[in-house]
């Protein structure tokens, strides 16, 4: 397995890119750790497949380098990169048995047949394919075929990385859970460097140790699911991760106070800022709605209540801005007007869309609320 360095990487499908918008992948400089599981997540057109294809070698980047364990592989074709790939649709040999399909990548590398048998059986057991090993692949269900594809990707223990491109799309919903569990187990057992592309946030956050959130060709944050939820580095991450997404209020900042129109909201950041386009961000689950005025609450108009069964989503109006508040099941919601508290430890401040670091939550100082 290998560490993957992306050095000043950028890609444009145009011959002479001029502006940032001409790039499918904007300048990216990251180190992906050996043995870690990464998911690339973002809306369609965000550049995640472009980045995956650059790592696999299917696409040569117009700028920058890709290094596997320090070795520049930018100009090396996919078949010489020592990677395994699993695609959206099964890629298998229909006329071969399941065993021969799984053994194929190993036989190609002239591994002794006794070692092959051992490895194939190990992978077959993990994927629950033992009973069909001698069957011809052609007669199996779509799910079983995709499991063989996964198995072919996982069978070599010497690859630098395994790349997955939406591998569970064709899988039946109730089997998805099973395969997600398998992939996680396989990762923790073999400590493989895995890169997984998906547009499904549940899949990305469940699978990965680190999620790479992308939008408009830019990597906006690489973090654990908890980081993305508690400390979005960019307003897009706050919006995209979580349902409903984070609330944002345009504001100006002055010594620990965010001014939203006439309102003053206390924040945990006393730095003297001279920044443009500031926004105060807070997640719907952290806002506190009261029926009577409390210290440091602000009067809001209740516009609409969506009862989702296990919680209610309240849409409220504050100083001309719309906010969503997530209220736990069983809590009363005031009629017409309410008083809204902004716990300072859950407020994040943004300038031009990016997190102002001094406003971010510091786990060493505070315990999150349960």
């Amino acid at each position: 397995m290998a560490r993957i360095d992306l050095k000043n990487l950028a890609h444009s499908y145009l011959p002479n890119p001029a502006t940032a918008a001409d790039y499918a992948l904007r300048k990216t400089d990251h180190i992906w750790e050996d043995g870690s599981a990464y998911a690339l997540l973002g809306p369609s057109g965000c550049g995640k497949t472009t980045l995956l294809n650059i790592i696999s070698g299917l696409l040569k980047p117009s700028e920058g380098q890709v290094l596997f364990d320090g070795k520049d592989v930018t100009a090396i074709p996919p078949q010489e990169r020592n990677i395994a790939q699993v695609f959206q649709f099964p890629v298998i040999y229909d006329t071969m048995s399941v065993f021969d399909n799984l053994a194929f990548p190993l036989r190609n590398r002239k591994i002794p047949e006794t070692d092959i048998r051992k490895r194939v059986e190990e992978i077959a057991e993990m994927l629950e394919l033992q009973d069909v090993l001698q069957k011809r692949a052609a007669n199996l269900s779509a799910d079983a075929k995709q499991k063989i594809s996964l198995g072919r990707g996982l069978v070599r223990s010497d690859v630098a990385a395994i790349l997955f491109d939406e591998p569970l799309t064709v899988i039946d919903p109730h089997l998805k859970l099973l395969l997600r569990r398998k992939l996680k187990q396989i990762h923790s057992r073999f400590k493989l460097t895995m890169v997984y592309v998906t547009h499904d946030q549940l899949e990305a956050l469940t699978f990965a140790e680190k999620v790479v959130v992308m939008n408009e060709g830019e990597v906006l944050q690489i973090g654990t699911p908890q980081d993305l939820f508690e400390n979005p580095q960019h307003t897009f991450v706050g919006y995209f991760i979580g349902s409903p997404g984070m609330n944002f209020l345009p504001c100006t900042l002055q010594k620990g106070i965010a001014h939203v129109g006439e309102l003053q909201i206390r924040v945990n950041d006393a730095t003297e800022h001279q920044l443009g386009n500031c926004e105060l961000g807070i997640r719907p689950e952290f806002l506190k709605l009261h029926d009577k005025p409390q210290p440091e609450t602000h009067k809001v108009t209740i516009k609409e209540i969506e009862d989702l069964g296990n919680c209610k989503i309240v849409r409220a109006q504050l100083a001309g801005h719309s906010l969503k508040i997530k209220v736990p099941e069983g809590e009363e919601i005031p009629i017409e007007y309410g008083y809204l508290g902004f716990p300072p430890e859950w407020i994040r401040l943004y300038s031009d869309g990016r997190l102002i670091e001094s406003s971010s939550y510091n786990p060493a100082q505070q315990e999150p609320e349960k």
């Binding site: 946030q201 549940l202 908890q226 997404g245 997640r283 919680c311």
Partner: protein
């Protein structure tokens, strides 16, 4: 004045797609058909629209029998899962097309196109072609075209299913606003309980071509008449455990017996199936009366703001829905706590006997 579906059955070959369904929808109401794939949602809509003819039964609109009358002669609009627009027409012409066919005056068409385009936030895209739009914008165009006519009947068959989840979330909230002010009968098919709850109105739960329950959405959610309805109308699915009540004590599975409280007190001694919503299960003890289960973590799924912990114990599998992000290892042992006051009670045939006190007022 309403649409009445009267003992409608639809057979295709020997297969029964719709089995003896009767329903009534009032003008100005929003109605959801909730059920899994192949439960009969699309089949029922096609019968309502007049795209298919029922094998038995009648479809009446405002007292008039429409069974067998072609869709062309009915006042109906439909939105499908796939984004269907006229590829050679721009957004304006796509939206205007039903009014043009109806020979409405040009200035009236213009006014209405701008009105619905504004409502769906596509007023700046009017001169684009469908191919130049994102999936979300294409579906907004299709919805605008369905809305412009003020049809008596508006059918939407899983209109958001092919959109990215964030777009789905945004449009779902808007839908509620859009349909609020209409006089049409709106019928909306979905597989997702969350979508039904967000949209409100009434919900009809379908299962294998049969109508299981129909009523105000929140009522159906709070008082599912059978375990099957509870399963269909819970996402993640409701958890179940067998148990019994005897001598004023409750026993769930093989856990220690506990005294009866609240809504459980009225139950006759017997064996029951107890249902627990994933959001009602806890991984920390909340009250002394909580019943403790030892379980094994199958997988923790993370949605962004919530964690779904899949658990198993002997042959049963449960899901716990937690707010926020929590980490669990596969095959970690955890303790799960059940608050008896939040139990749904079903008899062994799966019929609802009681539901938690905060919703128990009237069982029909």
């Amino acid at each position: 004045m309403a649409m009445v579906i009267e003992n409608v059955t639809k057979l295709v070959g020997k297969e029964c797609h719709i089995q003896d369904i009767s329903l009534q929808f009032e003008p100005g109401t929003f109605n959801i058909l909730l059920g899994r794939t192949l439960s009969g949602k699309t089949s029922l809509m096609r019968l309502m629209a007049g795209l298919d003819r029922p094998t038995k039964g009648r479809v009446l609109m405002n007292g008039k029998d429409l069974t067998g009358i072609s869709v062309r002669k009915r006042d109906v609009a439909m939105v499908y899962q796939q984004f269907i627009n006229y590829p050679s027409m721009n957004v304006y012409k796509n939206i205007a097309s039903p009014l043009r066919l109806a020979k409405v005056a040009a200035n009236e068409i213009d006014r209405k196109v701008h009105e619905v385009a504004e409502m769906l936030h596509i007023e700046n895209l009017l001169d684009r072609l469908p191919a130049e739009l994102s999936g979300g914008q294409q579906q907004r165009t299709a919805i605008a075209r369905a809305l412009i006519k003020d049809s008596e009947l508006l059918l939407l068959d899983e209109p958001l299913v092919n959109l990215d989840y964030k777009l789905r979330e945004d449009l779902r909230t808007e839908m509620r606003e859009i349909f609020k002010r209409r006089q049409s009968i709106v019928i909306y098919a979905t597989t997702e309980p969350l979508e039904a709850l967000t949209l409100g109105g009434n919900t009809a739960v379908l299962y294998e071509g049969q109508l299981e329950q129909f009523g105000p959405t929140v009522d159906v959610y709070q008082n599912p008449q059978t375990t099957r309805i509870a399963q269909a109308f819970s996402d993640p699915a409701m958890n179940f455990v067998n148990g019994n009540i005897e001598e004023n004590q409750l026993q769930l599975g093989n856990t220690p017996k506990v005294p009866l409280q609240k809504h459980l007190c009225n139950l006759a001694p017997d064996n029951y199936q107890f249902g627990m919503r994933p959001s009602h299960l806890q991984l920390e003890r909340k009250t002394a009366a909580d019943i403790e289960f030892q379980m094994n973590v199958n997988l923790a799924e993370i949605s962004g703001s919530e964690t779904f912990v899949h658990l198993d114990r002997q042959e049963s599998t449960w899901i716990v829905q937690q707010q926020g992000i929590h980490n669990y290892q596969i095959d970690e042992q955890v303790k799960v706590y059940v608050d008896p006051t939040q139990l749904y009670i079903f008899d062994l045939d799966g019929h609802l006997v009681g539901s938690p006190e905060n919703v128990v007022e009237e069982l029909t």
